[in-house]
């Protein structure tokens, strides 16, 4: 593996979370996001020679990911009512926050800190849904409550985590 390929592979490996989150946004959380990330990885490695190493990597990689999302939707016969149109995808791509190029995984460290601040009930429901991969309806049965209640609680926890992480980010900026 030459140095350029090796460098590209390292940048790509470091950008996995950001690309996954970006594709998830464009694909409204569909489980196929992992498959499209896979296609994106391949496309980046195949077309790595087009990348100008003097420019930030993430915006370029996101451009490749955006094309892969569009290609995925055009190749598969999806229900058009459940897919973002191209204009919306472009608009979301502009509004999705991009991690700094040199520390793409910082959000994960922040998430871990914020997870530690949740109350046990909130942590348990997030653990069941995301760590153990349980369905909302299964969690509802175990918790003896309605699916709607679980769904709303999960939504609130995500909101709490987002707020906490934003606060952490701001505090870091102030401290630095």
């Amino acid at each position: 593996m030459d140095k350029r390929t090796s460098d590209l592979s390292e940048r790509l490996a470091g950008a996995q979370f950001d690309l996954y989150a970006f594709i998830t946004v464009l694909m409204r959380g569909a489980c196929e996001a992992a498959d499209v990330l896979q296609e994106t990885n391949l496309a980046i490695l195949r077309h790595g020679t087009n990348y100008d190493t003097t420019r930030p990597f993430l915006p370029w990689a996101r451009g490749v990911a955006r094309k892969c999302v569009l290609k995925y939707y055009s190749a598969k016969s999806h229900d058009k009512w459940l897919v973002f149109d191209e204009a919306m995808i472009d608009s979301l791509a502009e509004n999705a926050p991009c991690a700094a190029d040199d520390r793409p995984a910082e959000d994960l460290a922040r998430l871990r800190v914020c997870m530690g601040r949740l109350i046990p009930k909130q942590r348990e429901i997030v653990t069941a849904r995301y760590m153990r991969g349980e369905a909302v309806k299964d969690i509802a049965v175990q918790a003896n409550c309605s699916e709607g209640a679980v769904s709303v609680l999960l939504h609130r926890v995500r909101q709490l985590l987002a707020d906490c992480m934003a606060k952490e980010r701001k505090q870091e900026v102030v401290r630095v």
Binding site: A21, L45, A96, A105, G133
Partner: protein, 587 residues
């Protein structure tokens, strides 16, 4: 929060949960159109959802972890690239030490993928804790997830460390979330959460997308993961990799002047593709790209491979063997001679050796040439039809008479699953059963009469749990065109060879063909190659069929001798095979 935001959040929640109807989704799109604030709100929820999904299968930090992580982050802020010279905990002056530690960790990992998700954070916390002289979070190097029939298991406690397994199957999770199913006997050196070296044995790696860059090395190559499920096996001088899901980059291992390096030599392998590498030879890429192999691959493709790793690896081996038989008969022809290093072109893009067999036209042309060189025109008779079914004397063999073969069995008491494997000369069928099913209608060929003769070995294995064998039933069946009535035999005058253009044939043997051998207690079929090496096949039965594939022996001239030990007499035959066809004479 105003009513519009409540409605919007509710729609986002439904979309994330996968419960949104088409109308709800359209409402969401309509609200977000030309509303950057709502788009950002949607992005924020989705990103947290992606982050949490990314964490699937890993454990959240406990209180200590969080404190360590916060301590690290605080420390990193103080000693980060922009923080200038700051005293560290030990009072020594360093600039950006934590970042150098982190960079070193990244190099150690062979990439920075471990920075993603929990593995990276845990590792950094551990590195920092080590630096600060405090005990780090208890994240094991390889966490044992499950085990089956395990003997002699050693798990690494530190990095680098070695995982050893005498027998059985274990599932372990590395710090990066990579899950390895190791099939014993095996020895794996865990160099980091992102790199392992398989010394011997077989393993199946299930690599989450955030651990892209995970690398498996063997003596022959390195496999650089691109987010996938793949299997690697190492047996003395042979290494194999096969991709069940996703794709990997395979680089050939080179060693020059005592310095090891990996060069781009084989390319990308996608699902259903693999690479076999022998020491001293160029790796060969193979693929399940013909119908029988595709059917075989369909039983293990995707993430299902990780659920039964031993079975998945077995299928991968079968596909490689079948592929070699179809596409590399020259491997047999030049056995013992190293193949040219240019046998596999070096490419960046995915490349698969053509699986196209010799065209019938070409084969026919070659065989005609062979006929012309071996027999004078006009000396052979026209074809006649005879009934060649030897069913009367085959006590241990069964012959198929219809294209529907009913299979019935009784379940052992303890069995929970069963796997039926039917291996023929040209195809393999594998299917699974659960208790309650005691019947399977097997169709060995399409149509009324088989187009090719075949020998099938049937094996029904009962499992207790997933891996413990509770019982086994076996049978052998021959599919003969003569069993379906009459078959064409091209009769020739004595001394004139018969010409075949098929790739496989069924050779019958029967001690009762001659009175002098009727009381024999066994049978021996010897094949002598033009290099005078002899392969002897011994059969306990005195009558039956031997399935012969051209690719078993490759090109050349072969002498066959059928004898029944303890009796007089010998049936012999001489056969020549070129890539275009086969000439055979029998005495």
């Amino acid at each position: 929060m105003d009513g519009k935001l409540i409605v919007f959040d509710d729609l986002v929640r439904c979309v994330i949960d996968g419960d949104a109807t088409a109308e709800e989704f359209q409402d969401l799109v309509a609200m977000m159109r030309d509303a950057p604030g709502l788009q950002k709100r949607y992005c924020r929820q989705m990103q947290i959802h992606a982050l949490l999904t990314c964490h699937k299968g890993q454990e959240w930090p406990d209180e200590n972890d969080v404190r360590q992580s916060e301590a690290f982050r605080s420390f990193a802020r103080r000693t980060g690239p922009d923080a200038g010279q700051t005293p560290d905990a030990g009072g020594k002056e360093t600039r950006g030490v934590a970042w150098r530690w982190a960079a070193a960790a990244a190099i150690l990992l062979g990439g920075v993928a471990a920075w993603c998700c929990g593995g990276g954070a845990s590792l950094r916390a551990a590195i920092e804790a080590k630096r600060l002289g405090t005990s780090g979070p208890a994240v094991p190097v390889a966490r044992l997830m499950w085990q089956k029939n395990v003997k002699g298991l050693d798990l690494p406690g530190t990095l680098p460390g070695t995982l050893r397994l005498e027998s059985g199957v274990v599932g372990v999770r590395l710090q990066t979330g990579v899950e390895l199913s190791v099939i014993g006997p095996a020895e794996v050196e865990v160099q980091s959460g992102m790199r392992i070296h398989l010394e011997r044995g077989r393993l199946l790696a299930d690599v989450p997308h955030w651990a892209t860059g995970f690398t498996v090395r063997t003596k022959q190559f390195e496999v650089y993961d691109l987010g996938t499920v793949f299997g690697v096996s190492v047996e003395s001088t042979v290494s194999d990799v096969f991709v069940f899901k996703g794709s990997v980059q395979v680089n050939e291992r080179k060693c020059e002047w005592g310095k090891e390096s990996f060069e781009e030599g084989v390319g990308l392998c996608e699902a259903g593709e693999g690479v076999r590498a022998l020491t001293g030879e160029s790796p060969v890429k193979f693929a399940a790209d013909w119908p029988a192999a595709k059917e075989l691959f369909s039983t293990v493709s995707g993430p299902s491979a990780a659920r039964n790793p031993a079975f998945a690896m077995k299928i991968a081996t079968q596909i490689e063997t079948l592929w070699s038989d179809r596409n590399m008969p020259q491997r047999n022809c030049v056995a013992g001679e190293p193949r040219s290093a240019s046998a596999v072109p070096s490419r960046k893009a995915a490349w698969v050796r053509s699986a196209k067999a010799v065209s019938p036209r070409k084969r026919r042309g070659c065989s005609l040439m062979d006929v012309l060189s071996g027999a004078a025109p006009g000396t052979s008779s026209g074809p006649v039809q005879v009934d060649s079914s030897p069913c009367g004397d085959n006590r241990r063999w069964s012959t198929v008479f219809t294209n529907e073969v009913p299979l019935r069995w009784d379940w052992p008491l303890s069995a929970t699953t069963a796997e039926l494997e039917i291996v023929g000369m040209n195809s393999v069928l594998v299917t699974n059963f659960t208790p309650g099913t005691s019947f399977y209608l097997w169709r060995p060929f399409a149509g009324r009469v088989p187009s090719e003769e075949d020998i099938y070995t049937l094996c029904l294995t009962f499992y207790k749990g997933e891996m413990a064998v509770a019982g086994e039933l076996t049978s052998r069946l021959a599919v003969l065109t003569g069993a379906f009535g009459k078959t064409v035999v091209d009769l020739r005058p004595t001394g004139q060879p018969a010409v075949f253009t098929k790739r496989s044939m069924v050779i019958p043997y029967d001690a009762c063909w001659d009175a002098s051998t009727a009381n024999a207690s066994g049978c021996m079929l010897a094949v002598t190659t033009s290099r005078k090496s002899t392969q002897v096949n011994r059969f306990a039965e005195t009558s039956g069929y031997y399935g012969y594939r051209l690719n078993d022996f490759g090109c050349g001239t072969f002498e066959w001798g059928l004898t029944f030990p303890g009796t007089e007499g010998k049936w012999d035959a001489k056969m020549s095979w070129s890539l275009g066809g086969m000439i055979m004479s029998v005495r």
